[in-house]
């Protein structure tokens, strides 16, 4: 009977021994093992994303020439508008640089924009992340901000040989120094709960009490530029609800994030580059 009991306990004994052995393994070995396991799966995920791109290509090939001509015309109009904006932007940048030189202000780092396709999207109640199809092979660095047309996507968490993982702005662990558009006082943004079948939401804290919002008149929440990770004035989301916090000194509330965040297929990584001018 005792031997049978020992036999039954053997799997759990083995589990305990394995756990102790695992705790004794150096961190460097674990890090190497993690990267190896990730790289083992990366080719399959990347191949799947290439196949998706090919599917998109062939579905676009079915479009008629008239549709393509119309799309080209619309694109030409957009390009003309952007050209005009670029010229205005260059004038403003020159003015900014001139004022910076006059006032002897420190020059913030510039960024190299690196567009990347999304390989995988994961939106669970535990974590929200993307895997993108560029990594060390394109000089992507951990911590680099990631943006899209609608504002902030998140920041690069881990970089591998030719892929990288991006922690999304909706992730509960993400905190960003932000400001309400038109106000200079910094507030704290944190990712929140992402309900199923709906847009992601976040939370703001330490909002000054003289700021008011209503669901009908939301206020744009943008990055403050403090902390040095995200450039200033990038859209995080829209503050839709504010209520006094428990201490009564500030307000806290809810931020509605763009629903496109969970359907992204291409993002841009801003790789810090001190040699490039500020954008």
């Amino acid at each position: 009977m005792p031997s049978q009991r020992f036999d039954q306990a053997k799997p759990f004994l083995t589990l305990g021994i394995a756990l102790v052995a695992w705790l004794l393994i150096p961190t460097a070995v674990k890090r190497f093992a993690r990267a190896s396991f990730f790289e083992l799966q990366a080719p399959m995920e990347t191949t799947a994303s290439f196949i998706r791109d090919l599917q998109d290509f062939w579905s676009l090939k079915t479009r008629s020439k008239n549709e393509l001509i119309e799309a080209g015309r619309d694109l030409a109009r957009l390009n003309a508008a952007y050209e005009s904006r670029l010229q205005q932007d260059a004038v403003l940048r020159n003015e900014l640089e001139r004022l910076g030189r006059v006032l002897k202000l420190p020059i913030p780092p510039g960024y190299r924009a690196e567009p990347a396709r999304v390989v995988l999207r994961e939106f669970s109640s535990w974590w929200q992340q993307l895997v993108i199809r560029k990594g060390r092979n394109y000089g992507i660095t951990a911590g680099a901000p990631v943006i899209y047309a609608g504002g902030i996507v998140g920041r690069v968490k881990e970089v591998y040989a030719y892929t990288a993982t991006v922690e999304l702005v909706s992730n509960p662990g993400v905190r960003i120094a932000a400001v309400i558009e038109g106000d200079t006082r910094p507030i704290s943004y944190q990712g929140g709960i992402n309900p199923s079948y709906g847009a992601a939401v976040g939370a703001v804290e330490y909002v000054p009490t003289d700021i008011f919002v209503a669901p009908a008149t939301p206020r744009r929440l943008v990055t403050s530029g403090l902390g040095g990770v995200f450039p200033p004035n990038l859209t995080i989301g829209y503050v839709t609800r504010l209520e006094p916090s428990t201490d009564g000194l500030f307000k806290s509330g809810e931020v509605s994030l763009d629903s496109a965040l969970s359907a992204l297929s291409e993002v841009t990584v801003l790789v810090p580059d001190p040699l490039l001018p500020v954008r």
Binding site: P11, S36, L120, E122, F123, S125
Partner: protein, 174 residues
């Protein structure tokens, strides 16, 4: 044993890739499928302890590598689930597919709840987080019940291809 572990690891990589692709498309609706129980059930029910334990641990590490959890978390959870299933497997007709599916569902339920306790941020509103978690769990269980028979059959066929006779494995093969 090595070839059996490699076969099970290859099957786990395939399953992880397919679930990753499914989650990629489901992300649009903010839904996530997690089928941890499926990585453990077959090996724990049908194979020897050492082979199953190594395969379950490696499958856990495979998932850990892709997720923002401490490396080894899912590895040890799978190993613990494997130990539990292995200990009680003699009490059930473990060769039956339906038993495998039920065991996988129960293992997935337990593992999902433990993962939720580990991963849900206590700072955010817990009730909302758990509500979202239960929706994910419900969908995960449905997906698991649908794909488990295929995955078990595939693992069995792959093991048979390398000459493994599953009837040789008994409770005392530790």
């Amino acid at each position: 044993m090595k070839s059996r572990v490699l076969i099970l690891l290859a099957a786990s990589i395939l399953l992880a890739t397919l679930l990753g692709q499914l989650n990629h498309y489901l992300a649009t609706w903010q839904i996530h499928v997690w089928c941890g129980g499926l990585f453990v059930a077959f090996a724990a029910l049908r194979l020897g302890y050492r082979t199953g334990a190594i395969a379950a641990f490696l499958a856990g590490l495979l998932l850990d590598a892709n997720t923002p959890v401490i490396f080894g978390t899912q590895g040890f959870l799978f190993l613990a689930a494997h130990a539990v299933i292995y200990t009680i497997r003699a009490r059930a007709p473990r060769d039956e597919t339906i038993v495998g599916v039920v065991v996988a569902l129960l293992a997935n339920l337990g593992l999902f709840l433990v993962m939720s306790f580990i991963c849900i941020n206590p700072v955010v509103e817990a009730s909302q987080a758990w509500l979202r978690g239960f929706i994910d769990l419900l969908i995960s269980q449905i997906v698991l019940a649908l794909i488990a028979p295929w995955f078990f059959a595939m693992q069995q066929r792959l093991l048979e291809l390398i000459g493994t006779n599953l009837r040789d494995f008994s409770r005392h093969s530790l």
